[in-house]
Symmetry: C2
Subunit: 334 residues, 2 copies
Amino acid sequence: MNIYDIAKEAGVSIATVSRVMNDSPKVSEKTKKKVKEIIERSEYTPNIFAQGLGLNTMHTIGVLVPRISDAYMSSVVAFLEEYLHDKGYGCILGCSGYSRAEKEAHVSMMLSKHIDALILVGSTYAGTGTIEEETDYIRKAASKTPVFLINGLVNGENVYCTASNDYQAAYDVTIKLIENGRRRIAFLTDSHSYSANQKRMGYETALTYSNIPIDKALQLFVKNDIYQARDLLLSRPDHSFDSVFATDDGLAVGAVKYAGEKGLRIPEDMEIVGYNNSSLCICSNPELTSVDNCISKVCSDTVERLLKVLDKKEGVSAHNIVGCSIARRNTTSF
Amino acid sequence: MNIYDIAKEAGVSIATVSRVMNDSPKVSEKTKKKVKEIIERSEYTPNIFAQGLGLNTMHTIGVLVPRISDAYMSSVVAFLEEYLHDKGYGCILGCSGYSRAEKEAHVSMMLSKHIDALILVGSTYAGTGTIEEETDYIRKAASKTPVFLINGLVNGENVYCTASNDYQAAYDVTIKLIENGRRRIAFLTDSHSYSANQKRMGYETALTYSNIPIDKALQLFVKNDIYQARDLLLSRPDHSFDSVFATDDGLAVGAVKYAGEKGLRIPEDMEIVGYNNSSLCICSNPELTSVDNCISKVCSDTVERLLKVLDKKEGVSAHNIVGCSIARRNTTSF
DNA sequence: ACTCATAATGAAACCTCTTACATTTTCACT
DNA sequence: AGTGAAAATGTAAGAGGTTTCATTATGAGT
């Protein structure tokens, strides 16, 4: 069943059928109605390949995340898919893991599928090699299709970034903890990403601003795993920290488990703040205070900017920042 | 940059270039080497649309889930994407929600993108209308492309199902609780899906087998939300149940919160079992005993069967069952 | 050197759509 | 009725691959 069959049955040329399919104004109402009826009846759908060959688009966006089973990432994908689908775009998903090689492999696979744009979520930097090396594949991809980063920052032609204001949020959280009398705030992270660095800078700035010396021994790096986070904290000397600011809710849950193990009361003896305000927060006991980095807004902004770029509209800025808020629950006393 | 450019530069015909691209044996080593070099150097990739037009495939599989932000679903998608990517297939993701109309819309969008097969995850039945009505869109889709259900059951030409043995697992869990002296086991679910019904049947069979009357008042239905599950349990009379078997970890966490609210000790006063063995289990406090429905195996089986079907191999059975196990943690005393 | 089977290559058809341009139809106005 | 502009429709040329079939090149066996 192709456009010729429809044309023959309707007694018109294929050009007319094509015009009807694309809602062109230069077809008489009478013809339009007749052709539409036949299209309807025979459940004809145009061949996407032939269409793509002509139009050079398939209305598909590539979405690449490091790990979809992560609560934060899956939320991001959920929003992106929803917004894109609303606008008639399909979503090719890739889960790359954190290695550069895997990311590159996924990106080139997506490019070969002729996506209209590429969205990269988080983790643009794996911590091996220089930033330039690490992000070169992004600029390379951007030479073929517009690239949109979510919570990442890369400068380059055709690269657009949308991020939550992690610097500010981290600063705010740290100040809150200091106001609560905390002086030895552990900074717990699992990433060298742009976001993680922003958080670290906000944290350090707040300490400096409050005349608290920065103690690098309080900045802990661990794989994103609840038990590993717990064990790392357990390996630290008792009382070496009085609160934990984690760059991810999973790590914060690890801190909760640490406190349980040590018999520390939360939040009296140990305050804990997570990040992403994910589903883990209310699953945790006590429920976790966390930074709400407003995924929904970040995603809707990204899609909005993406559509503008595809529309060849001018004036889409390279960078875009979205504010965060703090979701207060029971692991802090603010 | 197209096949003609390569052909011209190499001084061969486009047919030869095409053969080189597809690793055809009927090209001399010398020519192959020369052409490959030029392809490499000019970073030529064949146009997917032209290729699709000829081959009628884009090596893309549609994956439709109701809710990707669900820990279980995102795990399933993670495995599917990994296995499919390994085999050179891309993944078009759709998040449909639970309504039939949305599912149909997503399926037809995917079909219009010319997927090679469609994988539907869970929830084939939304509870409105008869099973036949609810699943008709699946058979319709199956007339255009092979359909693979994960933890769903629909009979039809070109429909292949892979499911975990939820009936058996539910039976086993219920027997364990009974062996622990529980007599009033609440069955908490959020779905009318095939899986949920299998679990219910296993639960009821175990009760009957143990000469415990089935009390419909103990079978509770609630939206998949931790707080709603907690509140529903709080609304029941005290001591009306002594344990909870939930068909999803989120609901089980709701039960944990209920017990906390009521001051019940877990597992002494209240045993709780979840389902899916998701990341919520270790996040919960106490950590949740849960049925491990072996997502990895279900997904690898699905992909394996899918590849066989695409390969036109015979003998792919319509149904395939994978065994479950119980991940014992701290909300039960077995 | 001459066959002849086989390997290597090329020409052209085909896949199904979009669209620029050409042609035909319509119809208001004289 | 005749004219001419505007509207409707059709023709044919791409878009960029794959593949069949025909043709040419190769080289082993005599």
